[in-house]
Symmetry: C2
Subunit: 408 residues, 2 copies
């Protein structure tokens, strides 16, 4: 079996009684050539190249009802499907997704399959290059409230967030085309604020405009936003499928970084028995499809993902051996300045500290909120405790007075 011509998928399959090896063979045959043992020898010779292969079956025996499972890896011949993510997912987890308690927990597409995907245009490093920031985690701020806000209000929100020195500002994922803040006017308003803030702070910013609308209008909408000055796009990938992201990322005219929002991801990853694991969904697939940044629930907030799963998402984005550029991990929700040492300890230097309430809820306002995050980052970089650094940095002091410092 040549690894360059087979793409692998690993499943966790729960069953109290099944013969897991038989089950694995059933998958390898059933999702490829359909039947095998009853084929004439001549047909077998011809069909061999299309036959799925069982790579491994690792059973975890248990007598406790509901706890016996196996991790099964199947290799699917690339010759069976086209070079797009829907084809791979429908092959590897189309019908099979409905076949009992089974979860897709890893994928290893072949080098040949992967070669069809240019991946992130910028990636983690390219994003840093755009910003000229190489020596610290990036700081992202999210609009506090966007629904029902007019352009003047959005502009002012943008400006206040930007003045504190954050690197990235993103739309809320639930801001759609609407009469109060239509796409191009919204971009123009926010880019105006961005320029004003850059003048004031001397620091570069990227604004991720939410890319929405009908599927077949996404490219046009992206280009209109870019034309109007947007230098980043936010995209609800799972509502449109991974291929839409892949094609946006591959379009040379969409010349800005794309941040993948995990909206709807909770419909896929949290069950132990069904769905697609977070490191596959929000890690490998987002990176292969071309997300420059991938947002996912942090282990710190109320929208919780266990820390081990978080770190596996991060590793898929940054370290998995893929030809696509590394994508920037953005653990999100529940982030305040007092968490920065923990985030940097958990995630390392290649991370975006992404805050909503932690910026807007600051007693000194959002500009002070942004400053507090930047000061927290500076404290960790310079090897000082937040408490000590806060003695000479008022925004940070106010932040930790309000939210405290969490070290584990």
């Amino acid at each position: 079996m040549n690894n360059n011509s087979y793409s692998k998928a690993t499943y966790r399959l729960y069953d109290d009684k099944a013969d897991f090896h038989k089950k694995a063979t059933g998958i390898a045959v059933g999702l490829t050539v359909g039947s095998w043992t009853d084929l004439p020898e001549a047909a077998k010779a011809q069909m061999q190249q299309h036959l799925g292969q069982v790579v491994s079956v690792s059973a975890h025996e248990s007598d406790i009802p509901g706890e016996r499972y196996a991790d099964i890896t199947i290799a699917y011949p690339d010759v069976n499907f086209s070079r797009d993510i829907p084809a791979f997912l429908v092959t590897a987890f189309g019908k099979l997704s409905m076949d009992g308690r089974i979860k897709l927990i890893d994928i290893e597409p072949s080098a040949d399959f992967l070669s069809a995907f240019p991946g992130p245009k910028f990636g983690a490093q390219g994003l840093r290059d755009l910003l000229g920031v190489h020596d610290r985690p990036l700081v992202m701020s999210i609009f506090k409230s966007v629904i029902g806000q007019d352009l003047a209000n959005l502009r002012e929100q943008f400006l206040q967030q930007a003045l504190g020195g954050v690197d990235l500002i993103k739309d809320d994922e639930i801001l759609f085309e609407n009469p109060l803040s239509p796409l191009v006017k919204r971009v123009e308003a926010c880019v105006g604020a961005m320029k004003e803030a850059e003048q004031a702070t001397g620091q570069k910013l990227i604004y991720f405009t939410n890319l929405t609308g009908p599927t077949f209008s996404l490219k046009d909408n992206a280009k209109r936003a870019i034309q109007a000055g947007a230098n980043g796009l936010l995209f609800n990938v799972l509502a449109y499928g991974f291929d839409a992201l892949a094609e946006l990322a591959a379009d040379p005219d969409i010349s800005v970084p794309i941040a993948a929002h995990p909206a709807m991801a909770g419909a896929f990853y949290p069950s132990p028995h069904y769905g697609i694991s977070a490191p596959v969904l929000l890690g490998k697939l987002m990176r292969i499809a071309g997300a420059d940044l991938s947002l996912f629930p942090s282990p710190y907030g109320s929208v919780v993902m266990p820390k081990a799963e978080n770190l596996a998402v991060k590793e898929a984005l940054l370290d998995a051996p893929l030809p696509q550029k590394a994508a920037m991990p953005v653990p999100s929700a529940g982030i305040h300045p007092g968490l920065v040492p923990l985030i940097m300890n958990d995630f390392g230097p290649e991370v975006v500290v992404n805050a909503g309430g932690g910026v807007h809820g600051h007693p000194g306002g959002p500009a002070a909120g942004g400053q507090a995050f930047r000061q927290a980052v500076d404290a960790v970089i310079s090897g000082q405790s937040l408490e000590h650094y806060a003695q000479s940095h008022e925004p940070l002091r106010q932040a930790i007075e309000l939210w405290g410092v969490r070290t584990s």
Copy 2:
């Protein structure tokens, strides 16, 4: 609250301790205006129209850990999102999908929202009109094996299935663009066989060609297939998102019925705690988006969906009060002629009897397999038992000798 301007979503939320009413208010506020109680009165007056509303909270108390839950219905102002399914789903189950044990179990989009969706071009009735069959369930056959098969083989498979008198023949959902059977040539080969069979049987057929490839090429591929003679399309909706289906269905040049395949649906519906329920996913959303037929796991085979859930999918497709035409339910997997009385009893007359192995595995070959299904349908329609009818109908006799008759 005007029902024409709010779209509702119902969630089942498991939590051993939560104040469900507080939780509901948190959803209604958090997914719309963001914050409410701390807004100044003037802002409240302006934001009222954007504020989500708690419609109902129905708690199911339990002291058993893991069993306490509430069904919560929230109404989202239509003014907050655009008239596309990604916008509605991201609003109603984007971030919320990641917020603990929560499953989307029903949706009730507003009349205004629904008015943006033309829905199925044909629907159940239109499909019958195309075929000229109004007095019995339709019979569909699926190719037995397609991967690695050349055009001559596919043509012959098509012909043999068609000669037995089935109404509908569909590609396998895992047949993608490939050198052996590229789209246009495959359509031409199968349409040739279709014409030959129609000559022989005097009966009309629809061939559902699998529509695959990159998202932004779907419309072109659909039109190429139709140009080559395809009079139906099969589509893996969940790999591309509901909007892709909606836009295909709304395109006047895509003038053939679309059958929605449920590939990947098992990643969404089976968990009691997470995801999207089958009647929403494979019922309401498929119909709103424009599927003329929706396939879903039957309650009879190895790929199982409980019968109550099956019937709820069927009801969403046929009976839910929606402005879109009713879509034809296609319970699939494990179907043989001996199940036809049960299927017709469970589903009523408006159903597609969809068989793969039950056609191809017939001792007399696939043409006899198709005949056996048609005879089983005729037996039920004429009020006779399969056993009695089989005495004078050899293909049916052979089928029930092999597979038996299942009555419950």
